[in-house]
Symmetry: C2
Subunit: 192 residues, 2 copies
């Protein structure tokens, strides 16, 4: 899984406050060849898991979800962060706290697109404290869907999200785990 | 371009107030095979236009943008709808009115990812009044980027967005143009 580490080393930018900016290739501008590698990496890990749906959350997760779903040949569903006037009333909801935006928000997912017959791979661009992922897991619980695993592009290993999820028995596949960042831009990745 | 009309006829749902729901295959759950056909259709129309970047807007546009960018082998950039704490200050901004949510919002795009050397294909899932597209065009104007065209999945032909854009000289490629919808679910598409 070294390809994403290499790209982060080359094009990622460290900012004070343990912020890692990857917006030149992953979550503002997207390199679609890299995206394809990401989708393939998740497929290689979960191809025998009987995945019926990829589940993610808008906005940055959508690209990752689509890239994975192409390999699995299953639909991708993304949870919405705002309740639109023209979404059905028949939705799962969960409350998520965003540290990036400093507030709580609701996520919603139509009940039509996730149910007890589903085996789900959850994907997202980042895993830090894990609040967004907790919201998606809550939705899977409400749906009665089986969670085969969690595919993350970049895990902030110095925050607790991944550790807690693994301790609860979830399989978490992170393509790059950042263990340490310094304000002068040095990034240390976790060894396999 | 009949494939999208066919899918809308099969799986689209008409709701009172001229709402067309396509969330089973395009903007909540996504059929990635359909998505690939959409990307290919835009590529076929613009492959000789010298496209350097695909530009879209979160959230639903991201999937469309990625699908197109794969064919063009160029990056996709998506304008963000909220100013996050960890985006650079150096951004283009524009104000967009959302009829869906009934309020104005800011879109932002980092100046690093669009400039005067770019030839851009703008894509989105829907074109109705055209406010979101107007915001993206405003951003292209600020960047000095050339707009090769606008690729839309579903245009609401009974609203003025497409007509105005075409009258201004923009090339608008809509894969399906809905001319009329009735409350009992009948959809009339514009003939080529």
């Amino acid at each position: 899984m070294k390809f994403l580490e290499d790209r982060i080393r080359r094009d990622g930018q460290v900012r004070p406050g343990n912020i890692l900016k990857v917006d030149s290739f992953l979550n503002h501008q997207i390199d679609v060849d890299l995206l394809d590698q990401i989708g393939k990496a998740f497929y290689n890990e979960y191809k025998d898991a009987g995945i019926t749906r990829i589940l993610t959350i808008e906005a940055s997760g959508i690209a990752i979800g689509c890239a994975a779903a192409r390999y699995f040949h299953v639909p991708v569903v993304f949870a919405k962060k705002a309740k639109s006037r023209n979404i059905d009333g028949d939705v799962y909801t969960s409350t998520v706290h965003s540290f990036t935006y400093g507030k709580d928000y609701q996520i919603t997912l139509s009940k039509k697109y996730l149910g007890p017959d589903d085996t789900v791979l959850l994907v997202d661009d980042f895993l830090a404290v894990g609040k967004a992922m907790r919201g998606l897991l809550d939705v899977c619980g409400q749906a009665g869907a089986k969670v085969a695993g969690i595919g993350i592009c970049i895990e902030k290993g110095f925050q607790e999200g991944g550790k807690i999820l693994r301790s609860e028995g979830y399989k978490v596949t992170s393509l790059a785990i950042v263990d340490h960042m310094t304000d002068d831009g040095q990034i240390t990745f976790r060894e396999e």
